[in-house]
Symmetry: C2
Subunit: 225 residues, 2 copies
């Protein structure tokens, strides 16, 4: 089995996370690194989605991945084995989210030369990660069909802060009472500007649209939009 670097993240000492996040965003712009923060509930399919997406992107874009988890290194190993891109595991030691300083500790463990895109797979949690700006260029979240279409009603902040919502596990929609129109309506109640892309990471359906979204957003970001 492949081995990956594991970084034990320390608790931040910075009190003003918003300020720190803005500083990190500026530093990343200076380095030409687009940081995508990917959030979701546990088990919504973040890692599988990333593997399919990275394999579709890696010919055009140099990618590195930071996998945040309370424990275990299974995700970073999976990513490295399945995609070959630079991948590290961040252990949060029980902490339920990453803030900008913790994200910086992870970035310090990566070689950012010739890296265009860093994807941060945040801790599986719909509550706390939404409260902390990581310094990311864009926020994206995955809601999976089995979780139900009412989640934007119950976890409003998460949907408010995300530029893109991927609706995953569309292949099992016939077995669940999931109303995608209601789901989109609830998402747009929280965030009228959020884009929504239905996908199935297992079969690869819709991954091309996510890939196009990433390419477009990196391009616009490079142009300073």
């Amino acid at each position: 089995m492949d081995e990956v670097r594991i970084i034990e993240i320390k608790k931040s000492i910075f009190e003003d996370n918003d300020k720190d996040a803005n500083n990190l965003r500026k530093e990343l712009r200076h380095k030409g690194v687009f940081l995508l923060n990917l959030m979701s509930s546990p088990g919504s399919g973040k890692t599988t989605t990333l593997i399919k997406t990275i394999n579709a992107l890696k010919g055009d874009i140099n990618i590195a991945v930071m996998e945040a988890d309370i424990d275990s290194d299974v995700d970073a190993i999976k990513i490295k084995t399945a995609t070959g891109v630079q991948s590290i595991q961040l252990h949060t030691g029980g902490m339920c989210h990453l803030d900008a300083e913790m994200t910086r500790q992870g970035l310090d463990g990566l070689d950012l030369n010739n890296t265009d895109l860093v994807i941060l797979e945040n801790v599986g949690n719909l509550v706390c990660p939404a409260e902390f700006d990581t310094g990311a260029s864009k926020n994206c979240m995955i809601l999976s069909v089995p979780e139900g279409h009412d989640k934007p009603l119950k976890y409003p902040l998460m949907f408010s802060v995300c530029d893109l919502v991927l609706i995953n596990k569309m292949d099992v929609a016939p077995y669940f009472d999931f109303d995608i129109d209601k789901c989109k309506e609830y998402i747009h109640m929280r965030n009228p500007n959020a884009e929504v892309i239905p996908i199935c990471a297992k079969t690869g359906d819709g991954i091309d649209k996510f890939v196009a979204w990433i390419k477009t957003n990196i391009l616009q970001w490079k142009e300073g939009k």
Copy 2:
């Protein structure tokens, strides 16, 4: 539509939650009220499981329910409409968990005369609720099949603190790569004493076993075991 009482939970001022939780447990024992703390990820089926379970239990046991959510009152209304038992909604105002003092604020909003069992549906989150003793007599969690059998590796504390793990959505197991034997093995790595009951809240399969577990545990608790 039925209306339910909504309690806006305030942040605790107690510094020693473990001490406060032990005090609350003593008070509840004095009142003869068994408190069951139910935790899970968002969308694992807590409310549906509760509705089926309460309807099977309510002839024998007087039950009240506290539904904790960051926002919305859909769950408390669902419980009240579908079961008729006393049900209140706790709004956490963005907070990701309940501790003992916050649980007490909820209990103060219930009529506990002639109540044998209070079920607390905690905030949907596998991380933070595991860190705070609510004063409950027993902790129970739901892991649903679509979340994957590896969750005890990634969220160790949650599985360590639970006396019972319900594995829900067993009806869709054929559509997911879910290995129940591996799941049980991982759960018991975290907590050798945890009981595991596979259920399907939608069809009602296995709810009889959860009902029996609750009855046995209340009986043992009343006998001081």
